[in-house]
């Protein structure tokens, strides 16, 4: 039981095929991976190695061809689409490479959307909560700004605030700093780290930047759809 409680997410023999017949390609070839509660892990690997595919499966955005995804000990394979959506909304947060904010909405509204989607309505309490989150990422001043008017770094901060909206257990970030200059990338990475330490949220961050990966607790590397190295690090 102690083991299960320490593991927030567990992948067992995950495979993922794309295409049919001749064009069939196995992108993930049996991935076993466990994320421990509160850890800050990075995922590295060459382009096309399957990092995003893996992240989407972990994020319940995609179903594996084979294998199981266990979230807090629960097998998510049994859930229907709405069950997955609810589970995803309540336990997982996402940060994407291209911030993926909704352009029609303000920064604040973007942060409120996961809460409102879950509750089915907008409450005044959500506004306060979203303001607090924007405060956390240092963007309270831009709360009412349209998403499209934010700089890349600012947008990524809002996306981080949004990923935390539902108080997730795990945040999955796919190259969150991939589109930012070195300085801004450092800042955003530092912010993720702070959230991880302050709230004990588990992070899995995909990055191509060895220098940033060195700042995490654990570096997982995949090549050709297989985990080739998984290195836990004492110091950060």
């Amino acid at each position: 039981m102690g083991e299960a409680a320490a593991d927030v997410m567990r992948l067992e023999g995950i495979t993922r095929d794309f295409g049919e017949g001749e064009a069939r390609a196995q992108v993930l070839r049996g991935v076993d991976l466990t994320l421990r509660r509160g850890e800050f892990a990075s995922l590295m690997g060459p382009s096309g190695s399957g990092k995003s595919t893996l992240l989407h499966i972990m994020g319940l955005l995609d179903r594996p061809t084979g294998g199981r995804v266990l979230l807090d000990g629960q097998d998510t394979g049994r859930l229907d689409d709405d069950g997955l959506t609810r589970c995803r909304g309540r336990t997982l947060g996402f940060v994407f490479q291209f911030h993926h904010l909704l352009p029609e909405f303000t920064a604040l509204e973007n942060v409120m959307i996961p809460m409102a989607a879950d509750r089915g309505r907008f409450d005044p309490s959500m506004r306060e909560c979203a303001q607090a989150l924007l405060g956390r990422v240092g963007l309270l001043a831009r709360a009412e700004a349209r998403a499209t008017t934010l700089s890349g770094g600012q947008a990524q901060r809002v996306a981080i605030a949004r990923s935390l909206a539902m108080n997730p257990k795990v945040v999955l970030a796919d190259e969150p700093t991939g589109n930012l200059d070195t300085h801004t990338a450092d800042e955003v990475f530092t912010l993720l780290r702070e959230v991880n330490q302050a709230q004990g949220v588990t992070f899995l961050v995909v990055t191509h930047d060895r220098r940033l990966a060195e700042r995490t607790d654990r570096i997982i590397e995949i090549v050709d759809g297989r985990v080739v190295s998984d290195e836990r690090r004492g110091a950060r």
Partner: protein, 403 residues
Amino acid sequence: MRFEWFIAIRYLREGKAQTALVLGGTTVGVAVLIFLTALISGLQRSLVSQTLSAQAHVLVKAPERVARPLPSDATTADHVEKVPDRIRSIEQWQQVLKALPAIPGVIAATPTAAGAAFASRGPATKSVALRGIDPESFAKVIDILPRMKSGRFALEGAEAIIGSTLASDLGVVVGDKIRITTPEGRGDVFTVAGTFDIGNKEVNARWVFIPLRSAQTMLDIPGGATTIEVKVDEIFEAERVAREIARRFGLGADSWMELNQQLLVGLRSQSASSWMIQGLVVLAVALGIASVLGVSVIQKSREIGILKATGTSTGAVQRIFLLEGALVGGAGSILGALIGSAMAIAFAGLARNPTGEPLFPVDLTPGLYLGASAVALLTGTLAAWFPARRAARLEPAEVIRYG
């Protein structure tokens, strides 16, 4: 605010050009619907009411001795001018008159003794349709009081009420005397008590009302009545009422519908073509909404993916797009109703009869607005159905993959 409403309204507000396009299309569609229906039903109503201005809804008469003629033999003008070869009275018409109100749908009935005659004053002689009536009950069946041009609609002793055209043909005014003679040679002098303009040239030029008793004497049917004219509460029920009267009393009974076959056929084909136009308008609006929403779903697929990735259920995504269709349909129906009514009213005001009634009357009824709104709302929602399904089925992983 409901989550789906918030998102749908924001999408509509932000997609200005697209929203304006569908809204404009829906508005024009509903406006056309309202305008066309109001105009056509107004025209039809006025056609019918004009036809019925001098005609009872049901005409009861002595039974035909031969089989009843096929309805197609009857023509509009016939009724007004038809003079039976031999004038026959309805047997025991007083009892029939008394029993008629018991028939469902009948609201008034009046006896008439009608026949052909000549009216003359000095050298001027005109052939006329003589109608002996009881003014009081007659006015309940035919709405003649508002159509009086001069004098009054009452007959005391040897008085006559004549059509305005006949009055000017003979050169008489109220108070003048005219001589009325039947083909059989019976004649009498009547004082003109009033003139009417019923909006029908034939009637205005030929009809002469005299007291029932005088007509009975002149037409040589003592105490008789050639027809009983009946008013019903629902004009399109007249045929049913006529059949019921014929069945119960063994008399001949013709509804106005039977006597105006051509008019009815005309009305029906007019309605049919109007329905077709409206169907096409609705179809065009539906296709417009569906295609614009379809494009917006494709444009928004990335955002739909994000919504789904951040906890928006498939059902909620579908509802967002259905709502967009319904909102556009709803707003379009309000705007379209306003514009359509304004157009109809303006059109009605364009031309007026000498009497001040619009030449093109329009019928703007609550039912019409309700119907048009329901159609617009339904069209909007149904048209949004396929785009909404498409949106709901998008796989978040697919659309998020590449920025």
